[in-house]
Amino acid sequence: MKNEAGMTLIVKTITRLTVGLILLYGIYIVLHGHISPGGGFAGGVIIALSFIHLMLAFGREMALKKLSQAAASILESLGALMFLTVALLGFLGGYFFLNFFLHKGSPFALFSAGIIPLCNIAISLKVGAGLFAIFAALVLFRGIGEKE
């Protein structure tokens, strides 16, 4: 499998420069989801794309070293559980999915809008890890005899 370890030098160099930026952009989109366009889903997909980018450029070992498939699926379950927990915390106020922060913070600030940023983070974790897991599974499938 060594001959598949990535593309040419140019691609690798550019990837090294851009991957960090893509990841940062994804995180930015997630955190500002309640103020500007974007949100957990778009941000999560961007985060997943940054890892997929890495995988396409450097081959699968490199990307899986950063984030293994098992870790990805665990992260995904954690994200899902976190979302459910946020929803369940609404029971503190008596209702499922209640936005339980009493004062919502000043609009336009980063820390505002009650549960919305929390939900965004949970979703992005889930989406990012989940899509990466799908992709890794689809790619790994073609490397015969590697899995298990």
């Binding site: 961007i46 979302f83 809008a113």
Partner: protein, 164 residues
């Protein structure tokens, strides 16, 4: 976009047809932007990229003989006839909708008027999907989770344990 869609369906080479679908998706993303839906434009764009990567992954490096479509004239005509009838009914039904550009906004106006005070989020779409209709979003996250689990389950190399 409609043109690109026709190309995508009719072209014979699979890779080109996948790329044509990409064109449809990007056109859709632009359309969302024109229709004042920036949230959707971003999401559609990135989702489209991901879809394309997955689809190309599925088609690339496979020896693909060009598959000719069925030559039965009858079946194609009947399908087209069915679609034509569907479109005709759709036309009559659509005439009774509110005109383009003037939605009724019964519930939506309340979201716009009070969304900021009630949730504190200035992005009203975010306020709707995560607060007013947060339960839907839980379902949506679950769908993705289901798909991941499904893919991981289908991709397993050995499905059954042989007793023999």
């Amino acid at each position: 976009m409609v043109f690109a869609a026709i190309v995508a369906v009719q072209i014979e080479d699979l890779l080109s047809s996948v790329i044509a679908v990409g064109a449809v998706g990007l056109g859709l993303s632009l359309a969302f932007l024109i229709l004042k839906a920036p949230d959707l434009a971003i999401t559609q764009l990135v989702v489209e990229i991901l879809c394309l990567i997955i689809l190309i992954r599925a088609t690339i490096n496979k020896d693909l003989p060009v598959i000719r479509d069925g030559r039965w004239f009858f079946n194609t005509t009947s399908t087209l006839l069915f679609i034509a009838i569907f479109l005709m009914f759709a036309y009559f039904a659509l005439r009774e909708l509110p005109h383009f550009g003037q939605p009724i906004m019964r519930v939506a106006q309340e979201y716009i008027n009070q969304g900021k005070e009630l949730t504190g989020a200035t992005n009203i779409v975010a306020a709707i999907i995560l607060d007013f209709r947060g339960y839907d979003t839980l379902g949506e996250a679950t769908i993705l989770f289901t798909a991941v689990m499904g893919v991981l389950a289908i991709i397993r190399r050995v499905g059954r344990i042989n007793e023999e």
